[in-house]
């Protein structure tokens, strides 16, 4: 694929997102961005509606930390049914995570939100990545470098989701904690 095609994938995506009368073929959510950087197979499974084991506690733990941290100083927004973000009193966009072990996927998710706000809605924001249990925060902002990281991610996601078969099995250090573990390996 040459550079023109690469560019046009992102352009086509943006054009569809900006147009109130149509949707992109593969709408990209924040969760998909996260999955893409964690495990492409997980992303493919999720895009095909493979269900996960709802009885595991990790999901519940994540929701708990999210719902019970800083709740007085942030407001939740749903945008186009695509992204769900929290905006702080200061105006920064905040993403709350249970732990910092998957730092890159969390950072990319937040960067995607910032990119989406800027490119689709023409709103410029900075971001804060927060790990309340670790009492840790990190500032995240959109610049030339992070912008191109987001665009590479969008191209990558569209490529993975449009494959006919799931990406190959691959043992990763966090497979044991993955919600798709059972469906993936059985």
């Amino acid at each position: 694929m040459d550079e023109d095609d690469d560019k046009s994938i992102v352009d086509r995506y943006l054009a569809a997102e900006r147009d109130p009368h149509r949707d992109p073929k593969t709408p990209i959510t924040g969760l998909m961005v996260q999955y893409y950087h964690v495990c492409e197979r997980e992303l493919w499974f999720m895009s095909r509606g493979l269900d996960i084991d709802r009885e595991t506690t990790n999901i519940q733990r994540g929701s708990y930390v999210d719902e019970n941290s800083y709740d007085d100083r942030r407001k939740s927004y749903q945008i186009n049914g695509r992204i769900q973000l929290d905006v702080l009193d200061s105006g920064d966009v905040m993403e709350v995570k249970v732990s910092s072990t998957l730092e890159k996927p969390a950072r990319m998710q937040l960067l995607y939100y910032l990119w989406y706000l800027d490119e689709v809605l023409d709103i410029e924001k900075d971001g804060v990545l927060a790990y309340p249990k670790e009492r840790k925060r990190e500032n995240v902002e959109l610049n030339d470098e992070t912008r191109s990281e987001v665009e590479n991610t969008i191209r990558g996601i569209i490529e993975v989701v449009e494959r006919d078969a799931p990406p190959e099995l691959e043992k990763k250090p966090y497979c044991d904690a993955c919600l798709y573990q059972d469906i993936c390996w059985v």
Partner: protein
Amino acid sequence: MPKDNHHIFADGELSRNEGTLRIDTLDGETEYLPVESVDTLYLHGQIDFNTRALGLLNDHGVPVHVFGWKDYYRGSYLPKREQVSGNTVVEQVRAYDDTDRRLRIAHDIIAASIHNMRANIQYYDGRTEDFGSAVDRLEEQKARIFDTTEINELRGIEATARKIYYRCFDRILRDPFELTKREYNPPTNEANALISFLNSMVYTTCVSAIRKTALDPTIGFVHEPGERRFTLSLDIADIFKPILADRVLFRLVNRQQVGIDDFESELGGCLLTEDGRAAVLEAFEETLDRTVEHPRLERKVSYKTLVRTDVYSLKKHILTGEPYRPTERWW
């Protein structure tokens, strides 16, 4: 934490008490059952219940299996589906409707079922009896599977294998238990009664596991959708009967955990008494909780989890084309 099944034998009333289940039995006892700790609820007695109790069970995704007179399976109350996926059902129906895809899945199911029968016979071969020829004949039936191009023919192989298999039971079971012929509706002797009861427990275990996925329980691949029960559960149950029902049967009889006096004969049929059923269910539940090291998941999983992962594997096959690996005893 894995949740347990809960069995209610008494007659009485099941109600909701705030966020918990309450059971008032006719002999004046009251029991509180935290609904969060229950995987599946089994009602063996005459139980009155109302929509409030069902609502609580529904909120926690707990299926209820109801057994009627002498523990004949009567039906299930299933919670509202948490997993809904139009895509999954469409693909499941497509797989059913495509002769090649359906046959491939049916082949795999019957092959695993015969493999598990053979594993049981092999276990007893040389231990108490010589089952060499039965082991060989089961192997022959299994080898024929992949040449079949018709579901009927495939079911014929399954039936032949099951006949060879059940014929060994008489020699495995300690006297005075005997099984010269598999008979049900109603079972004619003690061994038949035990097999019928245990098989119905395997069936409901599969119903519960399928409910946790978005698969449609009425569309099976070996059995036809016209049959009265959830045909996908019948398919999956065939894989697990040798593992979950028959081994429990052998153990109960040979260790004399059930005896002839745990049965009563009525109206030409032979059925378990209430004490007998309690003993059987204790052994069955203990078996569901047994664990085995899973080579691909690289962790210990219970037999109950194996039923669930089997269904996951089928679902994955239907949606992605990756191989379905029905559970074949490897341990």
